[in-house]
């Protein structure tokens, strides 16, 4: 039950935005990046150690950029049925 409500609560990107982004529209692509930015940030958060050996959870910027790039590449590859 909780799973289905969670899935229902997940906002989906509207079809026109996807179609425009696949077609190479920059604004639509930005909208997609914004849409997934939360997920990307979560994925690219990792423990970092400072010079005293203390552990902090920080967003790895390099990894975030890499995920964003991958998202763009895959969106451009996406086949609209």
């Amino acid at each position: 039950m909780s799973k289905t409500t969670k899935q229902k609560a997940r906002r989906l990107l509207p079809f026109p935005v996807i179609a425009a982004a696949v077609g190479g529209d920059a604004d639509a692509m930005n909208a997609i990046l914004r849409h997934y930015s939360g997920y990307i940030t979560t994925l690219s958060t990792r423990p970092m150690y400072d010079e005293y050996g203390n552990c902090h959870m920080r967003v790895d910027e390099g990894m975030r950029r890499r995920l964003e790039t991958k998202l763009i590449i895959k969106t451009l590859d996406f086949k609209l049925a």
Binding site: L12, L13, F15, R46, M63, L67
Partner: protein, 146 residues
């Protein structure tokens, strides 16, 4: 061909699932890469002195060496001390040392070259070695006194 609203909804879902999969897998790849780097790379600041020495190379210039010519071969001696010691020797004695230790010739071969017997060369060679030793020890003790 216009898609029906249901088909559009399906594509929205397909797109969302695919992108989440892609991102998750890429993140996994990233983590794997970091783990591999951690295993194989180390910081310069954490290298031991010995390991750091292995990373450096010094240029060699002809002027860094003392040069000696023997039988058409150019012999470069890197050590300043040894070069000086060799330069201070009489020519014949220096030639014996150069031939014996840089050209790998035996006493007999050197003797044949100059029409001398093996034992003479041996005597010259050992006495010259002692002379070099004495010279080097003198210089070193002088340096210590300074």
């Amino acid at each position: 061909m216009e898609l029906t609203p249901t088909q559009k909804k399906t594509i929205e879902h397909q797109y969302d699932t695919l992108m989440r999969d892609v991102l998750r897998c890429e993140a996994k790849d990233c983590h794997r890469e970091y783990a591999r780097k951690l295993e194989r790379e180390s910081l310069f600041s954490e290298l031991s002195t010995n390991e750091q020495y292995q990373l450096q190379a010094a240029d060699d210039y002809p002027s860094y060496f003392s040069h000696f010519n023997i039988m058409g071969y150019d012999i470069a001696v890197k050590s300043d001390l040894l070069g000086e010691a060799l330069e201070n020797l009489p020519e014949k004695k220096r030639d014996i040392i150069l031939m014996a230790y840089f050209l790998d010739m035996s006493d007999e071969q050197i003797g044949k070259l100059w029409g001398l017997v093996r034992s003479t060369i041996y005597r010259h060679r050992t006495s010259t070695l002692n002379q070099i030793k004495k010279y080097i020890e003198e210089v070193q003790s002088d340096e210590q006194d300074d």
